[in-house]
Symmetry: C2
């Protein structure tokens, strides 16, 4: 569901309208029925189901809802009274995925400060999911690692994972340890293989500094931290580059040379993905025992309730979730 005062309910309804003709794309939304009724159209009243197994039959005619407690929200007006429903939607989804009843979890945007005021104690969505999944091993080296992916025309999608995430830029240097780079690279390589079905994935690795440090003249992290990790991975048989200049790594020809990129910090990885396809970027959490994707935008309280929110990213998040679930099942 995400935050019911944001655009989550609206784009969920729009995604259903777009996908309902294809039974293979069935999904259900875990939300208070009142929330989804507030965005539905009269000719397609929502269907409250008891079990996810009923979702495929209901899907062609109406949006299936797996109900939880809660009330409808005022669009654009977040309220801590919805916090229990927001976290309840997430925890229910994870429980169903861990039990094998759901193939994947797709999370709509939440506003962290609303949850914080209600006593939520996790830094974000991803950490909360990590805790809910504790004790269950993923099918490859564990994360969580944040990956952004977006369609890239006729090419394979652009897939960029981050070695460091939501920290001030000045803390990147201290966060970028050999362990952090190695761990993120292992998770990404595992995900490219298991989640995206690439038998021998090609990984390109970004440098931290301009021109990837220019042989030490513009920084030492490539020589001291990143390149040794790359050498170690190559020695294990992985197809991994050394640290490469990030500014020349994302044009069309360069994108043919790899299956995934490990970026060293947030903007380095997100700028190219969102520049190339702003509306269909998808956030994928790699290295969890469950499949989890998310649209790559926020709650957009400013435009909630106006009917103008675009479901493109959610629809792509649903597609990527199906793709990963398919590969994990196969």
């Amino acid at each position: 569901m995400g935050d019911p005062a944001g655009i989550g309910p609206e784009i969920t309804w729009k995604a259903w309208e777009r996908l309902r003709g294809d039974g293979d794309k069935a999904f259900a939304v875990i939300a208070p029925p009142a929330v989804m009724r507030s965005v539905s159209r009269a000719e397609h009243p929502v269907a409250v189901i008891d079990s996810l197994s009923q979702a495929p039959d209901a899907f062609p005619d109406t949006l299936p809802i797996l109900p939880i407690e809660g009330s409808r929200a005022v669009p654009g007006q977040p309220d801590t009274m919805h916090a229990d429903a927001i976290t309840g939607s997430i925890s229910t989804a994870v429980r169903l995925a861990l039990a094998g009843e759901a193939a994947a979890v797709v999370t709509n945007p939440i506003a962290k400060d609303v949850l914080y005021r209600a006593g939520f104690s996790f830094p974000g969505h991803t950490e909360y999911l990590g805790t809910l999944c504790e004790g269950v091993a993923p099918p490859y080296p564990p994360g969580p690692v944040m990956m952004l992916t977006a369609p890239d025309g006729e090419r394979a999608p652009l897939r960029v994972a981050l070695a460091t995430i939501h920290i001030p830029l000045s803390e990147t240097k201290s966060a970028l340890t050999s362990d952090a780079v190695l761990s993120a690279a292992r998770t990404l390589l595992g995900a490219l293989r298991v989640d995206f079905g690439l038998e021998h994935p090609r990984l390109a690795v970004c440098g931290l500094n301009p021109h990837a440090g220019e042989n030490g003249a513009l920084g030492s992290e490539e020589r001291d931290i990143i390149d040794p990790v790359c050498r170690l991975l190559r020695a294990e048989g992985h197809d991994v580059t050394d640290a490469l200049p990030a500014d020349t790594l994302f044009h069309a020809e360069a994108r043919q040379t790899y299956d995934g990129v490990l970026a060293m910090y947030h903007d380095q990885g997100l700028i190219p993905v969102k520049t190339l396809d702003f509306h269909r970027g998808v956030n994928v959490t790699l290295g969890l025992p469950i499949v989890r994707t998310s649209p790559d935008h926020g709650t957009a309280f400013g435009i909630a309730g106006q009917g103008i929110a675009r479901p493109d990213s959610l629809i792509e998040a649903l597609r990527v979730a199906r793709e990963i679930a398919h590969h994990r099942a196969g």
Copy 2:
């Protein structure tokens, strides 16, 4: 000329072949004649001219050369013996531009380490140009400020200037003072007005941190340094944003909302430009008394002499130089 062992001579010849049909696009290359003869075709022997004023007449039939001392180079084999010709080509071009004989200077790539070994004491091209131009005021607040620009389909070109350039990422925080941001912004605003003919340019400013610091949660530089500069400029009547998240600033719709961007560090600004149009990116030095552009690639010693180098960026650099010269003259 740039380094004669790199692709400079070859792309200069190819640019002439592409542009010779249009007399308004005449240029001359300042080089030892032997260097240019080594890349010319027999049916169009190069023309050695005495003065730039002869270039337009010669241009339709052959590439005009303003000769300097020097010998031909072995492609792919840089040599300190060419250092005097390399720097001489630059200093001659600047002298002609300062004297009003040349409308603009376009510099082909040089390899700094080759020049260093020959005793060159400037950090790079741009600083050398700055010294050659000392004592002459530019027509707007002085730089030098590095700007990258690239064509953007039917839209106005993307233009991104950098507040900090070739330093390790970890030094960005200390280099990013209020003075540095303000000075770069003033130069960029002046250049958009004077060099690119925009009467009231709209400037978008990047934050330093992920999500532009997310109200201080992910870094304080936006609040303490960047936003106060933006407010000051707005108080002076400029159309300037506050610090914006860099990852959502470069997609097609966002690019409609500004005429120029001030990025805080190298990769933040270069990643979007080179992702969008790798082959036609152009480096423009803002805030010099002369017009100076440069192709946005290196000497490419690895492919020199093979005939496969692309002149796209040089041709675009020549076009941007003409555009700026036209605006400055008008």
